[in-house]
Amino acid sequence: MSYIDPGMRDMLDTFVHETETMLEELDEILLESERARSISADNIGGIFRITHTIKGSAAMMGIDGISNLSHAVEDVFYILRNAPSKLDLVFDTIFDLVFQTSDFLKRELEKLQVQGNDYIPDDPSGLIKKLHLQAAILSGESAPQESEKAAAEKEPDCGEAGQSCRYKIHIFFNDDSQMENLRAFMLLSQLEGCCDYLGSDPEHPEADSSLSEEIAKNGFIIYCTPASSIDEVKQTIENSLNVKSYEIVDLLPDNPDDKSLRSEEQADATSSKATQSPGTGGPIKAPARGAKQSLISVNQAKLDQLMDLVGEIVTAESMVGSNPDLRGLKLDNFTKSFRELRKLTNELQDIVMAMRMVPLQTTFHKMDRIVRDMSKKLGKKTELVTEGGDTEVDKTINDAMVDPFMHMIRNSMDHGIEPPEERLAHGKPELGRITLSARNVGGEILIEVADDGCGLDAEKLLEKAERNGLLTKPASAYTDREAYNLILAPGFSTNAEVTEFSGRGVGMDVVRKNVEQIGGTISINSVKGQGTTFTIKIPLTLAIVNGMNISVGGTVFTLPIASINQSFKVNDPGQIIRNTNGTEMIIIRGECYPIVRLNRYFGIDGGIEDITDGIMIQVNNNDSKACIFADELIGEFQVVVKPFPSFFSKYDLKKRGLSGCSILGDGSISLILDSNNLICDL
């Protein structure tokens, strides 16, 4: 049986997306408040609004777990809003609980997305109980003040109700509809549109889930004065879900019995009365939308398609421009129009690229959370400093970076940052610091994750790697930098014990894999006793690469500019050193580089063999360096990267040093070289 009502399935994606966004917002508010050790009225309102909205939409989707849990949080913050000073009593407990709630909700959302119709909700009752307990502690102290306020509000409201109320509608819901209180509330909001006056008994059914039993048993009473005719109201009620039966009673405007009944009920409902915040209006519509109104969410597949199309257009445009039929012709008007076209396509390309760009800020914020949780669990005091969160990267890259960030920060927290006592003993500030920074450096994003912890110990790393059989050469031959890179090797973990956070030896391996998958590189620098810095360079976007086209025989290759150090001609064949196994090497400024002859490497006929005729291109990746030998440089181009047809998937061309292909201006195809794998293969 599917958990989600079939009619709601279409809404599921929207629900998940909206709720995720709100939870992120919630986390941000919480972290900010926790750092400040206080919570502003605005932020309480924010949290209140978020939980309220989640509750409403979850109830609409029929996901009771999420709805009930958000409701419990909402209760707590409802009390806090009226008495912010009480917060100090339970500060840490509340924050922990709300963070747990946020995590729980995120897990549920993920499950909803992955399992779809087979979604099985987790039971949040443990959390709810804890939240209720906190609410009780809070309200126990603030109760008198509150009822006073509510009583003051009660009078005018009641008088108004008595005068204008015209009909009394008694509604019964289906026996098994569940969450009757919220269904009643939804009915109320539906009726809002067609009634001049609207009241109900209980007045705020959404405020208290315990009311749902009462409503199920005794029904739900609505007082209303229709804007036009009662028929409209009838129709709305008939159309709404789960209504079993209803009964309309025409009241005299000043029916005293009814009025007294209302006031009486209201007195009971005082505690939940003010729940409906003035700014909240209908909780289903998120009130904060105002600022975000100009945003729409688009299916990423559509964006990818658009990107592809624009790539086509760019290629087609240069095909027109460099069309051989035009050669030698003097076409003033054509040239003018063509220039205009090119300007527009360039603009189009920029916009499409910009559309896929998202700031790293949200990803950075997620890390805040990890640092906070780990600090608590490990008993280390650490702050996360983020810089350049507004740096924008392609959405795919952003998504791929979440895991690496997490692993690097966990690693820094677990292995890097020392416990407070040790830090003080070393003359460092007690508070550890992890810096997460991003900046744009010439077509690439440079991301640094730095900690001021104990740094890496090359000797220990080597020792450990040797034990794990990860060394490929004698330990003494490793430079410090090479030794640091060992922590990126699969199966390497410096922590003797497996902790909750790290030690299984998979983490840093994932970092490297993810970074490489998006065409990035990672390097590690460390000073013993002062800290470790991970430097990651990733391309701005995956789809379009700045490349140098080089020819070998009849084949054109594209080498990403980012990996090229320099290119030069070899004048003297004597510069080439031959190894015993036949590999050639060249010495440049005292460093020895192996030479990759592309024609031999790829088995291409007709490439230049004489080393003085061709061109040498020096490429650098991390710490592996090599020189690529090709026939000639054709020039620098922006190329649209296309993956190889899936036909080739069994050949694993990536391993062979080819990352994809691209269509050149004249319609021919170039193969994109992946110098990383090209060199690794040596």
Binding site: I604, F648, G667, L671
Partner: protein, 158 residues
């Protein structure tokens, strides 16, 4: 010679019984029309290193990168100079496009079940890929089963 065979024709069901005939050496072969997308001239091929010898490379077909297979090499025959009749039949198999180089294409025929017979299995490359043998106008046509023909190239995905 750029014609789109599938455009305007009916359902794939109808296409199943129709075959596009092409020549390799002196033998007539056929592809079921349900796989055939179009026939194009041989453009310049970009060889891809490190793949099977019968994959001649990739081409750019209106912005799509398509692998090209030489039927001769796949069938174990020697390669042949391309002439003005040599062309590429673009096939669509499991939503993937691939082109095959053939000596020339001749015609499209309708085949009825009565005209088809089951091929004997000689275990040779050429007979391994056959789905049926068609006798039409006193000529013998060997029908190639696209699924079998590409099975070695697709296996990693299934």
């Amino acid at each position: 010679m750029n014609e789109n065979i599938n455009s305007g024709t009916g359902l794939t069901n109808d296409l199943k019984d129709r075959y596009l005939l092409f020549n390799i050496e002196d033998t007539k072969y056929g592809f079921s029309l349900e796989y055939v997308l179009e026939i194009i001239n041989v453009p310049s091929l970009t060889p891809v290193p490190g793949v099977a010898h019968y994959i001649k490379g990739i081409i750019n077909l209106r912005g799509k990168i398509i692998p090209i297979i030489d039927v001769r090499l796949k069938l174990g025959l020697p390669e042949r100079e391309h002439d003005d009749k040599t062309c590429i039949i673009v096939l669509n198999i499991h939503d993937m496009q691939a082109g095959v180089i053939v000596d020339s294409v001749s015609e499209v025929v309708n085949a009825e079940n009565s005209q088809l017979s089951v091929p004997a299995d000689f275990g040779e490359a050429s007979s391994r890929y056959l789905s049926s043998i068609l006798e039409i106008d006193n000529k013998i046509v060997l029908n190639i089963d696209c699924e079998k023909f590409f099975s070695a190239d697709l296996e990693s995905q299934f």
